[in-house]
């Protein structure tokens, strides 16, 4: 009976199951690319329409926190990549430590983001809540901040899901079944790297315009 097999009945082998799972993650990432893609496209349309306002708005973002967060995320991705490698050579304790490192970095990203939002609240930069900006560029600046908040909140939501996933692995990794966990960890790492790549785009679009002039 199919029930007695160590994998679900639609698969022919453990390997078949694990490779299938990974393809699922790639297709999911394709969906995510379009989700953020639509947002980034809208950003470009408005930036193209009013570049001066977007530069003025960008000067009000905190490039220091943004840069720190970029470094934090890149490092966390490095940790996750190492955790995958460590697990595949059966160094489970090392893998677990690396995952915990990545979780801590991910959480510090979220905390720093919170500080940044608090600053923006104090500076009256949150559209729909307390936005006020003097001068003729106010409309364009408000549009910039709408996209800033939608994009970064959506990204932070992805971060929280990723942190949750890594936490599950960190808790279970010691006694988990070898092949399945390797495949699942690999998929989770793909997701984490994807969220990281999104941030690299957001970083360039949010913090860098107008900084050189």
């Amino acid at each position: 009976m199919p029930d007695s097999l160590p994998f679900a009945p639609q698969f022919a082998s453990v390997r078949h199951r694990d490779e299938t799972a990974e393809l699922g993650m790639w297709v999911f990432i394709a969906t995510e690319v379009l989700l953020f893609g639509g947002l980034i496209l809208s950003y470009f349309v408005y930036r193209h329409a009013d570049p001066r306002a977007f530069m003025a708005a960008s000067r009000h973002t905190d490039v220091l926190i943004g840069t720190a967060n970029t470094a934090i995320l890149l490092t966390s991705s490095f940790f996750v990549a190492c955790a995958v490698e460590a697990f595949s050579v059966r160094a489970r304790t090392a893998s677990r430590a690396l995952l915990i490192g990545a979780i801590v970095l991910g959480l510090s990203f979220v905390v720093l983001k919170g500080f940044e939002y608090a600053d923006e609240y104090r500076e009256h930069l949150i559209p729909g809540i307390n936005f006020s900006f003097d001068g003729p560029l106010a409309d364009g600046v408000q549009l910039f901040f709408v996209f800033y908040f939608v994009a970064t909140l959506l990204h932070t939501l992805h971060m929280l899901i990723g942190i949750g996933l890594l936490t599950i692995f960190a808790v279970r990794i010691r006694n988990a079944e070898e092949s399945r966990t390797r495949a699942a960890l690999h998929s989770a790492a793909l997701y984490w790297h994807f969220v990281d790549v999104v941030w690299i785009f957001l970083f360039a679009l949010i913090y860098l315009p107008g900084k050189s002039s």
Binding site: F28, L34, Y46, A49, V150
Partner: protein, 535 residues
């Protein structure tokens, strides 16, 4: 009748609501879609009653706006998009490729729950008073001015969108990874090629709708004008984003129907589908080019003339693969041993209605004519010929064709043929007059109209009542068959596909032994006997 089948595997509510069996999830979808089909149909009925006379007599103009919006939203997102993929597709895909389930059965169940959650939120929006923006949610009306339940409706569609994405993801991975030994891509039945193309659109277009709806909700809830020209927002951007999803979504609503028709035409002509590879690649070509034609919904929006020219040209291009399919189906009929069973009647109706819908689509792709036809009943008639005449007809055809496999019962052939013929006549009587109305200039989305349009409107409303009866008929004779129908054999149509080589209804894990595929699909011997794919 196979006594050890998926229907007998458990009788508790729990065994249905927590099932991961693709066949049971398909049944859950069937039941939900019947419900939504009749909700959307009720709105259509009210619209046609109102339009029987030129003046307003049944509903106010505000109520009328809510009616056609509800009709559009429910029919598009809660019937047409999930219709063939989530019911027939869910049931048949694993059987056709010789697998025991989809790649991700739990994701499949989650997809149904998301669909139901989205459906409930949308029903709440309707019950609370409805939405008056049209199914297109054009900004800034939807975001700043409409006094209706836009946010709830948008949220419902947003949630249902993830159900679409998960189903598309599941199909893509399943078709890539779970094909039976020997089942190469060019041995796949064409139903699978068209569902694959559909899934690619589901996965790549739906997230754009999701983010667009998020922006609509943000603008409405926080009062920040993302698409409001007053603060330098761009309403055209909304239209671009919306149609970047919604035009490909039109192909989500027709490609699966085309896939069903391949199976029917081949089986009831006892012949291989003519030009298999062309039909297969035409599906992917439609999916790909379908992403590049969205601007033809915006010819009068004020977008640049150059953009309109390019979109017009691309819209003509996308007709080519569609025409390839129609020609190849016709060529398949040539010298076949044609049987006019009920599914075949639906398939033949599909070819005729889809052709009319497709050719009038070319009228609308012409810049010069479209300027006159925009927002008239010509457009309404055109897309109903595709979506109702095409997709709903194919859905009914597929439902009848696979009914013995799904339920293990036969239905009354005479009643089924009568319903198919009645649907064909009712449909044409409903929608052909709308071409004339549109050509004469009657605008859509108004509940009062000039008296000279009344004759055609009365004809259309009369057709709608025929259509309503015709759509209700299957409910009775298929319902009867479910309990009292004669037992079906494993392969009542003598078809060669893998799904027919296992008992009806199929056992819980579909196949007792893993089938091995040895030949191309749609093979028939000289005396028109099916040659099973795995023999």
């Amino acid at each position: 009748m196979n006594e050890d089948n998926y229907l007998n595997a458990g009788f508790t509510l729990r065994s249905w609501l927590l099932t991961t069996d693709h066949k049971r999830i398909a049944i859950l979808y069937f039941a939900s879609l019947i419900f939504f089909f009749f909700i959307g149909g009720a709105a259509a009925t009210a619209i046609r009653i109102e339009l029987a006379t030129p003046q307003a007599d049944l509903v106010s103009s505000d109520m009328y706006n809510r009616l056609f919006t509800m009709h559009g939203i429910v029919m598009v997102w809660f019937f047409l998009i999930p219709s063939v993929p989530n019911t027939l597709g869910n049931f048949i895909v694993p059987l056709m490729i010789g697998a025991r389930d989809l790649a991700f059965p739990r994701l499949n169940l989650l997809s149904w729950y998301l669909f139901m959650l989205g459906g409930c939120v949308t029903l709440f929006a309707i019950a609370a008073g409805g939405v008056d923006t049209g199914w297109t949610f054009y900004a800034p009306f939807s975001t700043l001015y409409s006094n209706s339940h836009v946010v709830a409706a948008v949220l419902g569609i947003f949630i249902a969108g993830f159900s679409s994405i998960l189903t598309g993801l599941n199909f893509i991975v399943t078709i890539h990874r779970l094909r039976a030994p020997g089942l190469t891509w060019y041995r796949l039945p064409l139903f699978l090629w068209s569902l694959y193309a559909t899934s690619v659109i589901l996965v790549l277009a739906t997230p754009i709708l999701a983010i667009t709806l998020v922006l609509i909700a943000v603008e409405r809830v926080f009062g920040v004008g993302i698409f409001d020209p007053k603060i330098s927002g761009d309403p055209l951007l909304f239209q671009h984003l919306f149609w970047f999803y919604s035009h490909p979504a039109v192909y989500i609503m027709i490609l699966p129907g085309m896939g069903v028709v391949n199976e029917l035409i081949s089986c009831f002509s006892r012949k291989e589908v003519f030009g298999y590879k062309f039909v297969a690649w035409a599906s992917l070509a439609i999916a790909a080019v379908g992403f590049l034609v969205w601007g033809h919904h915006m010819f009068v929006s004020g977008q640049s003339v150059v953009a309109s020219l390019v979109f017009s040209f691309m819209s003509f291009i996308v007709a080519v693969p569609s025409a390839i399919k129609v020609f190849n189906w016709t060529a398949t009929l040539h010298k076949g041993s044609i049987r006019f069973d009920a599914p075949m009647l639906y398939a033949l109706a599909f070819i005729g209605l889809f052709t009319i819908g497709g050719l009038t689509g070319l009228f609308l792709a012409c810049l010069a004519y479209d300027v006159h036809a925009t927002d008239t009943y010509f457009v309404v008639a055109h897309f109903h010929y595709i979506m109702v005449g095409g997709m709903v007809t194919a859905y009914f055809g597929g439902l009848h064709y696979w009914w013995p496999k799904i339920t293990g019962r036969l239905y009354s052939e005479a009643w089924a043929r009568a319903a198919a013929i009645l649907i064909f006549f009712g449909f044409n009587l409903t929608f052909f007059p709308q071409f004339i109305l549109g050509a004469e200039g009657m605008p859509r989305r108004y509940h009062v109209y000039a008296p000279e349009f009344q004759v055609w409107n009365v004809l259309s409303s009369a057709g709608a009542s025929v259509l309503a009866v015709a759509y209700l008929l299957p409910l009775f004779y298929l319902g009867y068959s479910l309990f009292f129908g004669a037992r079906a054999s494993a392969n009542p149509w003598d078809a060669p596909g893998l799904e027919w080589q296992t008992p009806s209804p199929p056992p819980e894990y579909n196949f007792e032994v893993q089938p091995v595929v040895t030949r191309a699909p749609y093979q028939y011997s000289k005396n028109f006997k099916a040659e099973p794919q795995n023999a």
